[in-house]
């Protein structure tokens, strides 16, 4: 553990030393450029944010639904055992394999293009096993005495699930989701596979518009880049200055990940305080 924290500290220090001087408001609000001192990560962090949004929005209903089904509804037999083993295995599949599958399914089969939607769905598949596993864990921690109390009052299974099991495991579900997202945020391999751009000098369409219905979904189909790919692009250039940009972007990405983990810890703490068995 000590080695772990030492390594993390060393990493952050080296990133900060290299990239720190490059961090500025201008860096966050500029498009990439062929001049390293003018280049920024605007498209990258906007892309990352939008992709994460799609990922969370698609992984939560699927993952929570699957977990609730497996824990509360599914009979315990060899089929559910098989599903369980498969989910555990899926959590360990290399991410590039998900990228290849997404390329075949989302890009070539469903013609979703090299878009934010494709990327979000790909990463959603990637984190789905983790979301399912952590949600099941959270659901299992709701004691049976609570389930029986609800049933004894005449609740149906669905009422018991929606009024008790899911609300009381929200803390665990959110924590698991955020941890999973903070893994997905650093993924580049599957996104390169589905054709994310590594240099993009424009933003996706805004999710709002001035006319009715005011929200727009055009951005879902736009090309994009994400933070790790931007970093990869910079690091593979010969100019030394771009390497400093990569370090600075890494620092931002690191900050995003740590912030998400912090949020997870905070949520867990809040819910633990409210619910004890």
């Amino acid at each position: 553990m000590l080695t772990g924290s030492l390594a993390l500290t060393a990493l952050i220090v080296s990133l900060a030393l290299n990239g720190g001087p490059r961090l500025s408001w201008q860096f966050l609000t500029s498009y990439p450029s062929r001049f390293p001192e003018q280049a920024g990560i605007l498209t990258a962090w906007v892309g990352t944010t939008l992709v994460m949004f799609v990922t969370a929005l698609s992984a939560v209903p699927l993952g929570v639904g699957a977990a609730v089904y497996l824990e509360e509804y599914a009979p315990k037999n060899w089929i559910t055992d098989l599903i369980e083993i498969n989910i555990a295995n899926l959590a360990g599949v290399p991410s590039i394999v998900y990228g290849l599958m997404a390329l075949g399914v989302f890009v070539y089969q469903f013609h979703l293009g090299h878009s934010i939607l494709t990327a979000g769905l790909t990463l959603a598949l990637l984190i789905l096993p983790m979301v399912i596993i952590s949600t099941r864990e959270a659901i299992r921690s709701v004691p049976d005495s609570i389930r029986e109390a609800a049933y004894a009052l005449g609740a149906t299974k669905w009422q018991m699930v929606k009024d008790h099991v899911v609300p009381y495991s929200t803390g665990g579900i959110l924590t698991g989701l955020i941890i999973a997202l903070s893994r997905a945020i650093g993924e580049s391999a599957p996104l390169i596979t589905i054709g994310a751009l590594s240099f993009i000098a424009f933003l996706p369409h805004p999710p709002w518009q001035s006319q009715f219905p005011y929200v727009s979904f055009q951005w879902l189909m736009d090309p994009f880049t994400v933070m790790p790919i931007q970093m990869f692009n910079w690091i593979s250039r010969p100019q030394e200055d771009f390497h400093l940009n990569a370090a600075a972007a890494g620092l931002v990405l690191m900050g995003m990940t740590l912030a998400m983990n912090g949020l997870a810890i905070y949520i867990r703490f809040r819910f633990r305080k409210r619910i004890r068995w």
Partner: protein, 260 residues
């Protein structure tokens, strides 16, 4: 087995009830009548089937796979067999409520705990809920302690108060029968005394069946007592009779503390 002559109206009649956990038979040919607006106590050593029997009355066993009932429990006045597969267990639990061994309030406010049973019955009007919640808390002798903090979480209550909250929660929906599964086994003597007092008060409103490990408790609160042993009802009679002049040798040995 000879059933005592029960003068009060019958609320439920249990006829030849067999119950199986998978292949293990837990209850054998149980016959009992439950008198309306009286307290029926079930006593007996651990593992004798008291709780198993109690949980038949609101079909709690349906929640777990592999459990099987035989025989019938007729719920009066319409004499429907609540064990019949055509009867929805939800319907049964709407009429037969339950208080558990350990207080198990929901991690919600005191108010929402009591209101939950009403809410799942589709009652959403604030005025009706307020009214019913107050009435239930009063009936459970918790109103005075809880009225100023109805919206605090139920975990701020003490163990005994939590158990009374669970009683209020069960009472809020006006059940016909209230089942108590060793309701005081996790409580201290003062809290126990309050619950016992409450049980005695409540029998004016609702039929009560109580499982207890504590024979003095059965003697104090109940009108009828069934002594169970190895999944069978050994003796069932008026409580006075059971505790002063039991007709079965085994009952006498149990209540005098020679085994169990």
């Amino acid at each position: 087995m000879i059933l005592p002559l029960v003068q009060p109206a019958i609320k439920a009649a249990v006829n030849h009830l067999n119950f199986y956990y998978g292949s293990v038979q837990a209850l054998t040919r149980v016959n009992l009548v439950i008198a309306e607006k009286h307290v029926t106590a079930l006593i007996g050593p651990s593992g004798c089937g008291k709780t198993t029997y109690l949980r038949c009355l609101n079909r709690m066993h349906d929640l777990y796979p592999g459990n099987r009932y035989e025989g019938e429990i007729l719920l009066h006045p319409e004499k429907i067999n609540i064990l019949s597969p055509t009867v929805d267990p939800i319907e049964v639990r709407m009429r037969v409520s339950m208080v558990f061994q350990k207080p198990n309030p929901f991690p919600k406010s005191i108010y929402e705990n009591v209101a939950y049973g009403l809410r799942i019955r589709g009652i959403g009007k604030r005025a009706i809920l307020d009214d019913k919640v107050e009435q239930a808390l009063r009936n459970a002798a918790l109103w005075d302690e809880a009225k100023d903090r109805l919206h605090d979480t139920a975990f701020t209550l003490s163990g005994g108060q939590q158990q009374r909250l669970c009683i209020a929660r069960a009472l809020a929906t006006d059940p016909e029968i209230l089942l108590f599964d060793e309701p005081t086994s996790a409580l201290d003597p003062t809290a126990t005394a309050r619950i016992e007092e409450l049980v005695t008060d409540l029998k004016a409103k609702v039929t009560i069946v109580i499982v207890t490990h504590n024979m003095q408790q059965a003697a104090r609160v109940s009108d009828f007592t069934a002594f169970m042993y190895l999944g069978q009802v050994v003796e069932f009679d008026k409580t006075d009779k059971i505790f002063t002049n039991p007709s079965n040798q085994l009952t006498e040995e149990y209540i005098t503390g020679r085994f169990g």
